[in-house]
């Protein structure tokens, strides 16, 4: 009898993240930890005006400083660096990594210094004198759309980045013909229509680690290595190679530990292009590390969409039609995905409801603010917010329980796959189940009694509820210009340990743990014997990256498929060794043995060793155990859930306290519920932050007013209640794991459910909607009769 321990099955277990011990003990290697002999440091001179023409730049004093090697203005850089690439098909204004002529937001680079150390670089940047002919700035998108007081890009009349795009019922797939009759009829037939303008305010992603890049062009070899705090090193490699006139074989991109991204590190930034181009030009390794002040200005912002919501319904609460007119403030330029993000808001307008007629329109507008791009949820939290706040207003108008209104409009569980008016095909869902579970966990009726009792005492207590469905697991290549697949290679090493690579480059998602759980189960080996490699194009052959909650659904599936190939080959080697049929073999407890007779078997390591020294080589087999797989899903996944909150507002101060947050999230099958909960906790914190305390503010002159954490609030642990989490499990048919994705979910339901709870608490004051963030002063004004 073998004395091998019985290994637990790990998929579905709450395995602690193996990444954490090194990260919390300070043993992680981040970009700023990368040191190379001869490393030089770059600093950017940035515009301090929101809009202006550069009259002149005096770099003399900077160049004369000890330790300064070079100073480049935008015009000089433009001589050897093309404009920044855009990843969407929308027409976009030329965007130079360093401005050559006109600056369009505070923080836009105008020159760059290369110096022996970071301090000197910064001193020299300060010594550069820029003379601007200032122009009027515009920060309000609805003003910008009039073309006054300024036009930011010459070829974009009225500052329209994307002129009105219609979508939904009666719109042809190419968007060219629009038939409004069905939508008009829905509104004509309605007993009630609720209408509201809502603002989904601008947020700063504020990853704990700001951005950073080190580029090392090695003249002798003609190759470049770029370390960057990015979510997608392979995409970075593609673009850095392209802009430097190099082949992808000549560039290696490395994302070492990445201290959070939240979508903001999908974009490829000007600093990445400039630092790599200067490294190549000067033949020196070069580093730039973003400081926090820069991060608030120069890293993309998220959200900033105005939604005009109209919902038409019958008296019985059946929704007949929805109109959603969106105006997205994209800031000063289109970045990699900027223009596409608000289209996801349109795509998800059907929400969890069987709404038969929907008209959405989208207009994107340039303003003199930092460009926007993907921020956790990227377009879907906005859709959820608009529709769920609208549903809440409808429930209030009909005097109907908000849960009951939802129930009457859900897409029934037997209608999946369900094609929405927006053209999405929801893969699977059971919305009533998630709602019922959340209502049960919250004790909805008891909560309502508690609220009413509190109100009778004069307390301002409110309840809110929101459903959500999001689009995740992005997605077929038809929907992503980068390609919508993921790649993995799984290798059983000579000693029986397993190395695997994934192109889904994690930055907090815990893939090193979840993916190792999967392979440990697949091969019946100890978790400790599996290592996941990622974030280095020199090691990971191919990949897209981590965004759109895709790493498990797409990256995890690629890993699973690669693993299955290796297992199949290994079974053939084992069959030869054991003189058994491969289909009779089981991989268990570190052994490969014949089903039913565990003594007829070999250790996993013995079979691995044989595969690498195959004497004799079984017929039809080549040596080695290393296989790769690309996986492209046929569709996205559509996770969903229900969030419920209870809030209390201090009558005297307007301060809002979040008393309870109950969430039921359905992400399909879960590989590691502990990590899933961690993802939900973080998402909830950011969703709650948006509802309560976060907002990027600008003065009318385009000067940022929230340039540091002293003015831009993010939630602290003490601001948050104990989260009450639960899950329903509705697997997706889109991938063999049945996993949907969960990275963004927390940001979707929490935000509208808190605002709805606040409106509920304030309903005695005749309020039907309050825009975020729920600043105490704003709520106090409602309570005390002032203007909201």
């Amino acid at each position: 009898m073998s004395a091998a321990p019985v290994l637990p099955k790990l998929v579905g277990e709450r395995v602690k993240r193996r990444e954490d011990p090194r990260l919390v003990q300070g043993h992680g290697t981040y970009v700023d930890d990368v040191k190379i002999f001869g490393l030089r440091h770059a600093a950017f001179k940035r515009s301090d005006v929101a809009h202006g023409r550069i009259r002149s730049i005096d770099t003399g004093a900077a160049e004369a400083m000890d330790g300064v090697e070079a100073v480049f203005t935008g015009t000089q850089i433009a001589e050897f660096l093309d404009p920044m690439p855009i990843g969407t098909p929308f027409p976009s204004p030329e965007h130079r990594a360093v401005a050559t002529d006109v600056v369009r937001y505070v923080g836009e680079p105008v020159a760059v210094v290369v110096a022996a150390d970071r301090y000197t670089a910064r001193d020299a940047a300060d010594a550069i004198v820029v003379d601007y002919e200032t122009r009027p700035a515009v920060v309000n998108p609805e003003v910008a759309m009039t073309g006054h007081p300024t036009v930011i890009h010459a070829d974009f009349d009225n500052n329209l980045a994307v002129p009105l795009v219609p979508s939904g019922t009666g719109v042809s797939p190419d968007g060219k013909t629009v038939d409004d009759s069905v939508v008009d009829k829905a509104f004509a037939d309605a007993d009630v229509v609720v209408s509201q303008r809502m603002v989904n305010q601008r947020l700063a992603p504020t990853a704990m680690e700001p951005r950073g890049v080190v580029a090392h062009y090695e003249r002798g070899k003609g190759t470049m290595t770029v370390w960057s705090s990015t979510q997608n090193p392979h995409i970075l490699r593609t673009f850095v190679a392209k802009l430097n006139g190099m082949g992808e074989d000549e560039v290696r991109a490395i994302a070492p530990e990445v201290g959070g991204g939240f979508g903001a590190k999908i974009n490829i930034y000007g600093e990445e292009y400039v630092v790599s181009a200067l490294s190549k030009r000067l033949g020196l390794p070069l580093k730039w590390t973003e400081d926090r002040s820069e991060a608030f200005l120069a890293t993309i912002h998220g959200r900033d969409i105005i939604g005009y919501v109209d919902i038409a319904a019958t008296r019985a609460g059946k929704v007949l039609g929805l109109k959603l007119r969106l105006i997205a403030d994209v800031g000063a330029y289109n970045m990699l995905l900027t223009a596409a993000i608000p289209t996801l808001t349109m795509l998800m307008a059907n929400a969890t409801y069987d709404i038969p007629a929907i008209r959405t329109t989208l207009t994107e507008v340039f303003t003199n603010k930092t460009p926007t791009d993907a921020y956790r949820g990227a377009g879907r939290p906005e859709a959820t917010y608009f529709v769920e706040r609208g549903m809440d207003m409808l429930a209030r108008r009909l005097d109907m329980d908000p849960a009951e209104l939802r129930r009457r409009n859900f897409i029934p569980a037997d209608r999946f796959p369900y094609k929405t008016q927006m053209g999405a095909v929801y893969d699977s869902g059971d919305y009533a189940k998630a709602l019922d579970r959340a209502l049960g966990n919250a004790g909805w009726q008891e909560l309502q009694r508690e609220r009413d009792a509190a109100r009778a005492e004069g307390r301002l207590v409110g309840l809110g509820l929101a459903m959500y469905v999001e689009v995740c697991g992005l997605g077929p290549s038809a929907s992503l210009p980068t390609g919508g697949w993921e790649h993995s290679q799984v290798t059983v090493e000579r000693d029986g340990r397993i190395s695997a690579t994934t192109g889904a480059s994690p930055h907090g998602q815990g893939n090193e743990t979840t993916f190792a759980q999967m392979l440990a189960d697949q091969f019946g080996v100890p978790f400790e014997h599996v290592r996941i490699h990622h974030g280095d194009t020199g090691v990971v052959k191919q990949g897209i990256g981590t965004f759109g909650s895709r790493s498990q659904a797409v990256g995890g599936t690629a890993l699973h498929l690669a693993g299955a190939k290796v297992r199949e080959k290994m079974a053939k080697f084992a069959a030869a060794l054991l003189e058994a049929h491969e289909e009779d073999l089981v991989f268990e407890d570190g052994r490969i043995s014949v089903q039913g007779s565990p003594d007829t078997g070999k250790s996993f390591a013995e079979v691995a060793a044989y595969a690498y020294v195959p004497v004799p080589l079984p017929a039809g087999l080549s040596p080695g155990l290393s296989e790769e797989a690309f996986f492209e899903p046929a569709n996205n996944t559509y996770p969903f859930g229900c969030h419920i909150s209870m809030v209390e507002i201090d009558r005297d101060t307007g301060e809002l306290a979040l008393l309870r947050l109950v969430a039921v999230d359905d992400a399909g099958n879960l590989i590691n519920p502990l990590i899933v909960e961690g993802q939900i906790h973080g998402g909830l914190a950011q969703g709650i932050g948006q509802a309560m305390i976060e907002e990027v503010r600008y003065g009318g002159d385009g000067q940022p007013l929230t340039g540091s954490f002293m003015d831009y609030a993010i939630p602290r642990a003490a601001d948050l209640p104990r989260f009450e989490l639960d899950a329903t499990v509705t697997p997706t048919p889109v991938n063999p794991l049945g996993a949907k994705g969960v990275g963004e979910a927390g940001t979707l339901g929490s935000t509208p459910c808190i605002v709805s709870a606040a409106v509920d608490a304030l309903s005695g004051f005749g309020v039907t909607h309050v825009d975020m963030m729920l600043r105490p002063e704003k709520l106090w004004q409602i309570i005390h009769g002032g203007q909201a």
Binding site: D123, M692, M710
Partner: protein, 284 residues
């Protein structure tokens, strides 16, 4: 986030610090916890030539009793004040004030002396020192002097302290019936409005009251109108609170920023004056 170059020296005693300040001329700057100064240096709003570190001068740290009064060394960090047994027993309002400052990192580095020397309009200590009628003890090349807190805080970031002087301590007569109440700014945790109230209660009557206000104006002030109205009133919570409800009414030039407008701040002065007074009475 990168300061300009500076020299650094560490002072070993108060006299040494004063001597080093004098030697450095106008270019010298004291640094204690660095939690107001270093952020300014990183933003290059303050570019001192020589930093003179006073954080490790033993005589500057600690909370002690002197002739029936309580003295807190200027170098005492907020955390030590917040957890001082002496203060909790004899004058809990001071410990309570310190506990509201920033977050644990700030409280373990930032000092009382640094806070009042810097005199941020939203800093917490000034309100409490005013309510306690504290005196600020100062050492300089011309010797030692003492200034009443109400004369010390003069304007925005402006106090009665010369560039070559050093705060050594604050001293006050302990008051048990005193409390501090604060509306937090959610990002920084500074006070949008903070009110400290100290009461002298005897025989069910308020004999005298002192209220210090921070956050609302360019600098911390005493709410003298409320103090006068309260003197001689019955010491029950509701009648005291009623007197304070309109505490903000007489104020002019209130601060207004993205976190709170002037009208709101004015209303909050009344709300937090009431809260401070109720809590003070509850300690009676």
């Amino acid at each position: 986030m990168i300061p300009s170059a500076f020299d650094y020296e560490r002072a070993t005693s108060v006299d040494d610090a004063v001597a080093r300040l004098a030697a450095a001329g106008g270019a010298g700057k004291l640094i204690a916890g660095g939690h107001s100064l270093v952020p300014l240096m990183k933003l290059r709003l303050n570019e001192p030539g020589t930093l003179i570190d006073i954080a490790r001068i033993p005589e500057l740290a600690g909370v002690r009793e002197v002739d029936g009064a309580i003295e807190i060394g200027a170098g005492t960090v907020h955390h030590a004040v917040a957890t001082s047994d002496l203060l909790r027993a004899r004058c809990p309002v001071v410990a309570e004030t310190a506990a509201t400052i920033g977050d644990p990192q700030v409280r373990n580095r930032g000092t009382l002396g640094g806070s009042i020397a810097h005199a941020d309009p939203a800093a917490d200590y000034p309100a409490t020192l005013l309510a306690l009628d504290a005196e600020v003890r100062i050492q300089g090349p011309r010797g030692a002097r003492t200034v009443a807190a109400r004369d010390f805080f003069q304007d925005l970031f402006t106090v009665d302290l010369a560039g070559d002087e050093l705060i050594t301590a604050v001293r006050f007569a302990p008051v048990r019936t005193a409390a501090y109440a604060k509306l937090y700014q959610r990002a920084s945790r500074f006070a949008i409005v903070g009110v400290a109230a100290a009461l002298d209660v005897a025989g069910g009557t308020v004999r005298s009251a002192r209220l210090g206000l921070t956050g609302a104006l360019s600098h911390a002030v005493r709410l003298t109108a409320v103090e006068e109205a309260l003197a001689g009133r019955p010491a029950d919570a509701d009648s005291v609170a009623a007197e304070a409800a309109r505490a903000g009414d007489g104020l002019s030039d209130l601060n207004a920023d993205i976190h709170a407008g002037a009208d709101y701040r004015r209303a909050m002065v009344g709300v937090f004056a009431q809260r401070a007074l109720r809590a003070a009475l509850a300690r009676g």
